[in-house]
């Protein structure tokens, strides 16, 4: 583990497109009243704590992995998106990417 906190130049708000997407989905659901922010923060903080038990989180990808897991768990508990449904659509998206010719827009075939 590194104790040194490196002071870097301005960085983009989101390092990866999916970081931005999962962030936006969460903010949109909060604004739609699906959960309030203190509830989100409490759940997210629990996930971070659990993930940080056996390793040092660097605040990058691992931060948004924890974010995604928190959102998946919350939506599963609400019955909004069951793990089965998420898996099925995740695989459907994977198939869509693998069968779409490079350069074409990727779409789900069941739509």
């Amino acid at each position: 583990m590194s104790d040194c906190i490196i002071h870097t130049a301005p960085e983009p708000a989101f390092a990866e497109p999916w970081h931005a997407q999962v962030f936006a989905v969460t903010v949109a659901l909060n604004e739609a009243g699906r959960f309030d922010w203190p509830e989100w923060a409490a759940r997210f903080s629990d996930t971070l704590k659990r993930h940080g038990l056996d390793r040092e989180l660097n605040g990058g990808d691992d931060y948004f992995f924890a974010w995604l897991e928190t959102l998946e768990t919350l939506l599963a508990e609400q019955g909004t998106a069951t793990p089965d449904a998420v898996n099925r659509l995740r695989n459907a998206w994977e198939d869509a990417y693998l069968t779409t010719p490079h350069g074409d827009p990727v779409r789900l075939t069941d739509e």
């Binding site: 906190i5 708000a13 989101f14 931005a20 659901l29 040092e56 605040g59 998420v86 010719p101």
Partner: protein
Amino acid sequence: MPHDDHDHPHALLPPDPALRVKALETILTRKGLIDPAALDEIIDTYQNKIGPQNGARVVAKAWVDPEFKAELLKDATSVVADLGFYGRQGEHMVVVENTPEQHNMVVCTLCSCYPWPLLGIPPGWYKSDAYRARAVREPRKVLAEFGVTLPTTSSVRVWDSTAEVRYLVLPMRPLGTDGLSEDELVGLVTRDSMIGTGLPEEPS
């Protein structure tokens, strides 16, 4: 590298978490709970419109306008909202002022609560375990790693943000800036100086 972009037979497969996020988006969109256009708007806002320049504007204004500063220290939430910087998550904003006797520094030990409307999305280090754990335990050592050495006469106060309360540091106005306009002062206010892990730039 596992992929070579030149002769791809199919679209580049995003990483697993990206596919899981797409799955969630699809489900939520089909249920009418989110609108993809609203997601784009949120991302655009956080990528392009909200950032430390908002906080810098508030700090520079406080430096030149004593009345504004007094209001800001009393009730930052409404003053900041008047400037058009709203807390989307309904958070309460508190501005803490640096003085020769006290330096302020902000952390979120629980997760990564941060004054989004004024500073945008927090930098990676703010979200790291290292900063979150050490800012409270050994703030002077952390400050030294950021290149900030305080006089021994100055105390350090660490403010722990929550989902409800977000802190912004009002740094001390650098010496030799008496002749500068508000707009010129904005350019001296760095993001880190508003988190308390840095100081404003000196005028050149």
